[in-house]
């Protein structure tokens, strides 16, 4: 449960992993910011997910105690909704839409291409914590499929070649291109 403060070797990495006390303080202040709302569990979970990239057992305990909600209800919500993670994802998030229109435009081929380029299976994060590849059930941009979201930015008409290019650009940023 306690976050280990492993500092990254790279010089660019200035922020250390937050300490257990810092997490508690952050979570409590997030909970506090929603004190005027009724049934604020989901907005709180969303803020915590955004702040930390995942929802830790400690955060869930804080919510349970402070909001007087059973821990099982918090955990049930965390595991029910696709948006919440219990483990941190990779630094770069690739999300491929598999809505009907995008599937018709061969989104599955895009997934295969990205799996090859990033060296991971769909739904996984690579060993170094750099890339995560996931699917999404429809971004709502069906007219311009296949749709791929990279680090929060949506790209349209992404057939396998374009997907490869997107992956290569990100790999270059991480200094992984030969």
């Amino acid at each position: 449960m306690l976050m280990s403060g492993k500092a990254d070797a790279k010089k660019e990495e200035t922020a250390k992993s937050p300490s257990s006390y810092e997490i508690e303080e952050s979570v409590l202040s997030i909970i506090d910011s929603h004190s005027e709302e009724k049934s604020p569990l989901l907005p709180i979970l969303q803020d915590v997910q955004k702040a930390f990239g995942f929802i830790s057992p400690q955060a869930m305990l804080e919510m349970s105690e402070t909001l007087d909600i059973p821990l099982s209800q918090v955990y049930s919500a965390v595991t029910f909704y696709n948006e919440f993670r219990t483990k941190k994802r990779g630094k770069h998030l690739f999300r491929v839409c598999i809505g009907t229109a995008c599937c018709i435009k061969k989104a599955d081929a895009v997934i295969l291409e990205l799996e090859k380029e990033l060296g991971i299976q769909c739904g996984q994060t690579d060993g170094k914590g750099l890339f995560t590849l996931e699917t999404v059930n429809c971004f709502g941009a069906c007219g311009l499929g296949p749709i791929v979201e990279v680090d929060g930015r949506i790209f349209s008409l992404v057939e396998p070649k374009k997907a490869k290019a997107l992956a290569e650009e990100v790999k270059k940023k991480e200094g992984l291109q030969k």
Binding site: M1, P57, L61, P70, L71, S72, S76, T79, F80
Partner: protein, 585 residues
């Protein structure tokens, strides 16, 4: 409760016949009219879940689940149509397609609601494919979970909510849905209080009581051991159900005989232990009240502590109430102590060769027996705990039919219990029993007439009353089901109400509704069991603990007096604040 009637009678048509009913839900109206409707998730003690979709019937041309369809005037119902038969069979096949079909080896073979229903609908499934594989959790000393067998009916979630713990909930979603404690923790690392209510309502074998028969058999087969079985108050009024007797049948003598046949060397009555609990607890209550009158700082109201699931609940959720808990041990623990000291000496059996096995309506007692605080002479006082369900299995395994056993009496040394000791199995029973003796202790010498405190009897979740006890006005409260206890405690803490003495039972109905009782258990059946206990009390020759000859004898010969140094050492314990969840990285 869902199967209780609402006001107003309506006329409906079932399969072409007219029928009048005052039931709220269609399922119970159909059952009342004599129809057998397949059902799996539905249970009369809970609001409808409507998950299994097996109870479907045709209502005015539409297919609806009858468990949650409210009866309306003029409804036209058909219980069998081509579509309905097809739908029920499909849904059963779907359940079976994701369930290990190993009934022959399963713990609940022949005693499983899913199996019984499958026999009626279909036991074969044509759908084969992916299966959920979640695994077992055997970390708890009270219950075992095998989640591959779970059919996701949701009863355990509701039962755990009633127990005030709210530990279980649906996790994940869709095909991978699983009912689990949070954070993927083992049960033993969570706030589970071991009450076993979940195991009482599970219609399949996903949650069962922990099977401790093997341990007991090894004691019985060990020639060096003198194995004593002690029988809890509620068990005598419920074990008959496992052998086809009607709920509320009293089988005390027959049970004692069966247990001797199974191989126990002696059979004792936990209710005598209860008599001692009453003596010690009454003395404790009187002492606290007197201290309050002297202006001393004292923890009141005093809460009972014979229910180990309530004690765990307090240690985790209300640790600030620990000083208020009575330090008196629970009846079976006291009995075990007496057996390994007084009985051992009188009978000339070395105490380390005595094994005490408690036969309880309760799974929490399994956890209680392992508490470090309850060890005597370096070992647990109670060596093993068997629920009523396990005990019935052992009797059946010995080839005995309890119905036809010849009655026998308990072991001659430490018997007979008073009526007060035997009503411990009912909610309100402990309260009434302790007040009978507290009245005597407060008023001084001379016996008072036996108090019959009807206000604290019955299945209501929270009962309150005011009595004149030994000339003092005492306000008392009784709660059963920890969810109700929570409401009561919050009222007390907020200052809204104040009491002097509070009895809390974690299980609805008290021990008679305990997690280890026969299945099925429901409000009606529990009510019958409780009625039997009060009947035993009203017929008992001695109804008050302080008048019980064996109690007087053991105090005079051994324990001196209630609250004495010896009594404190042997019959009292302490409690510790506990963390709700143990999380390690």
């Amino acid at each position: 409760m869902p199967d209780e009637e609402k006001s107003g009678i309506v006329q409906i048509e079932i399969n072409g016949r007219k029928h009048e009913t005052a039931q709220k839900y269609l399922l119970y109206a159909l059952e009342e009219a004599g129809y057998v409707i397949p059902k799996l998730c539905s249970h009369p003690d809970f609001e409808p879940f409507a998950n299994c979709r097996l109870c479907v019937v045709d209502v005015n041309g539409e297919i609806k689940t009858s468990c949650n369809t409210e009866v309306r005037q003029g409804m036209v119902v058909k219980t069998e149509t081509e579509n309905i038969t097809e739908a029920r069979r499909h849904n059963m096949e779907l359940i079976l397609s994701n369930h290990p079909l190993d009934c022959d080896y399963c713990y609940r073979n022949m005693r499983c609601e899913l199996q019984a229903l499958a026999e009626k609908i279909t036991k074969a499934t044509r759908y084969a494919g992916a299966e959920r594989k979640i695994g077992k959790d055997e970390s708890s000393s009270a219950i075992t979970r095998d989640m591959d067998k779970c059919i996701l009916c949701g009863r355990c979630i509701a039962a755990c909510e009633r127990a005030g713990v709210c530990l279980l909930d649906y996790t994940k979603r869709g095909f991978n849905t699983a009912i689990m404690p949070p954070l993927g923790l083992k049960i033993s690392d969570t706030s589970c209080i071991s009450c076993g209510q979940c195991s009482l309502f599970c219609p399949a074998a996903a949650i069962t009581e922990r099977d401790d028969r093997a341990d007991v058999y090894s004691f019985i087969n060990d020639k060096e051991k003198f194995v004593i079985a002690q029988v809890a108050p509620s068990v005598r009024a419920s074990i008959g159900e496992e052998f086809g007797l009607a709920p509320g049948s009293i089988a005390t003598g027959r049970l004692a005989a069966c247990l001797k046949e199974v191989g126990f060397d002696a059979v004792c009555d936990t209710s005598v232990g209860a008599d001692f609990t009453i003596m010690e607890e009454a003395a404790e209550l009187v002492r606290r009240i007197k201290e309050r009158e002297e202006g001393k700082e004292v923890a009141l109201p005093m809460f009972t502590s014979c229910c180990p699931a309530w004690v765990s609940f307090a240690e985790e959720f209300y640790p600030e109430l620990i000083p208020n808990l009575s330090t008196t041990k629970s009846p079976h623990e006291i009995m075990a102590v007496l057996l390994k000291t007084y009985y051992s000496e009188k009978k000339g059996i070395p105490s380390d060769s005595i094994a005490v096995i408690s036969i309880m309506p309760c799974t929490a007692k399994k956890a209680e027996a392992k508490r470090v605080e309850l060890k005597i002479m370096g070992t647990p006082a109670v060596d093993a705990v068997l629920t009523v369900r396990e005990t019935a299995r052992m009797i059946r395994e010995a080839g005995i039919d309890l119905k036809r056993a010849k009655e026998e009496n308990f072991d001659d040394l430490i018997r007979d219990a008073s009526g007060a000791g035997q009503i411990f199995g009912a909610t309100g029973g402990v309260m009434e029993a302790v007040l009978r003796t507290a009245d005597f202790m407060l008023s001084g010498a001379g016996s008072s007439c036996c108090l019959e405190l009807r206000e604290v009897r019955g299945m209501s979740g929270i009962k309150e009353a005011e009595y004149s006890i030994g000339g003092k006005k005492l306000r008392v409260a009784v709660a059963n089901g920890n969810a109700n206890a929570k409401i009561l405690i919050d009222r007390i803490k907020s200052g809204e109400e104040s009491f002097d003495f509070v009895e809390i039972m974690a299980c609805p109905g008290g021990c008679s509704g305990g997690g280890g009782q026969p299945i099925p258990s429901n409000r009606k059946i529990i009510g019958e069991r409780i009625k039997a206990l009060y009947l035993i009390d009203s017929d008992a020759p001695v109804r008050m603990s302080h008048e019980n000859p064996i109690v007087k004898q053991i105090y005079s010969e051994f324990l001196e007096s209630p609250g004495s140094g010896t009594a404190e050492k042997l019959l009292h314990t302490y409690y510790v604040k506990k963390k709700k969840f143990s999380i390690t990285d």
